[in-house]
Amino acid sequence: MKYQSQAVALPYFIAAIALFAGQVIFGLILGTQYVIGDFLFPEIPFNIARMVHTNLLIVWLLFGFMGAAYYLVPEEAETELYSPLLAWILFWVFLAAGVLTILGYLFVDYNTLATMTGNNLLATMGREFLEQPLLTKIGIVVVALAFLFNISMTMLRGRKTVINIVLLIGLWGLAIFFLFAFYNPTNLVMDKFYWWWVVHLWVEGVWELIMAALLAFVLIKVTGVDREVIEKWLYVIITLALVTGIIGTGHHYFWIGTPEYWQWWGSIFSALEPIPFFAMTVFAFNMVNRRRREHPNKAAVLWALGTGVMAFLGAGVWGFLHTLAPVNYYTHGTQITAAHGHLAFYGAYVLVVITIISYAMPILRGRAANSPKAQVLEMWSFWIMTIAMVFITLFLTAAGILQIWLQRVSETPMSFMMAQDQVALFYWMRVWAGVAFFAGLVTYVLSFFVKGESKPLSA
């Protein structure tokens, strides 16, 4: 660790992993409810469990991004963090807000929660991924602004590297587009139109900047490749991401009451969205092949390469699979969407956060890299989780294809619930793949507790 204040990243990473575990446990509950419909009903209805599952994902990724920024920005800027105290305060505020919100979902009736938290003053709740009470949403904005102030001040008084600039643009974009979460017009078409300004412009826009910056940082560290080369790649990748991704929003505007021309704009631009992910894969492998040093942290290199490949498969290939309007006409709102969502989030954002954690955590704990034994276990967890997620995706894809056939293509279309019964086999297989994923996650957590001789930091 070059700067003492980087240490504040540690609690953020720990919280991220803990909430990740919570997310996966709720994923297992949901998977079970798909096949045993009354499982945990009425204590935890499906809609509540799903909200906990998706909101925990968002919160833990944000913890990961913030932890990454606290670690990376001072090191890039070559100065101490502007205010480590503020970072600590925000950590507890954000954790408390996150935990209270999840407890609210679980123990308070959602309608009562809405009334209690001012949803009648400004109705923002009950929209997918933006289910948070108004107070939580305001809290997110306050924490985000204070966080951005802290790291922007850090960057401004130090070296302004390309990685820092790109990361900051991404994080500012994240905060700015979240403001559309407060806009909820009664007109459903407009509601949906601007809802995507949060959801799409996050995950297929500014988050890609954050992801590319984190990946570039880790690649510089573990490969020793010249910064000039990596920074040029970084600019090219994020250019491709925004040039395709911004108009690519149009692939959500096919069937929600918007003009027909979006079928052209959305299809063409989103068909190009795999390109930046492909570039990231080529970039990662290229830099590792041209490495000038053998970094002792082999696990971090594996996570970094895995990010490139799995993001390309999940976001790129599985996204392209159903992004053309004539295809999407049949796949829209089916298990194909769920399949893509799982592999894309895992490949791009889960893996990039674990990559930076894998690189930074040993250093935060006072060593250059973990012991070989710990790294072997960590690498096992990569393979178990990744293969399990590939199978979750394949089973959901199979379920989706069958669902579409029975319910939408057939001459004698089945009702939704009848079609669901027909695809139950694949839902069962998905649950078992989910159990395997959980085993991988347990392996990952255990890898932090493996003792053994590790390389000292001074090396």
Partner: protein, 141 residues
Amino acid sequence: MSGTFTKAMARNVFYGGSVFFFLLFLALTFDTMKALPKTDNRHNLTPSAAAGKHIWETRNCIGCHTLLGEGAYYAPELGNVYTRRGPDFIKAWIQAMPTNAPGRRQMPQFHLTDKELDDLVEFFRYTAGINTQKWPPNIEG
């Protein structure tokens, strides 16, 4: 990545390209907002339908159902449920929940009043009238 393509050029392409395509996106958004009255069925967006949307949101219906294909994939599409089932069936169905059939997917009982049920149905009547470019492919959603 040869020497002729410099980092400064890459940076300029990034800023120029991003700003250009964001402005294009804004222009398309502006055009869409002008065109929406023709497709978004706003003349059927009555106060009752608006109240229905509020009920839809505060019961977190999107956590199980899709609406115009967006939401969770656990329960049927409801954007066209008004056309598929009609108002009386929808109200009777909501009131009959949960079925408590062993092993089957369960929908919670929301204890909606008659007025709230009417508002929700009015909301579904409005959503069923939105021009969705002929989606879904058939009535089953």
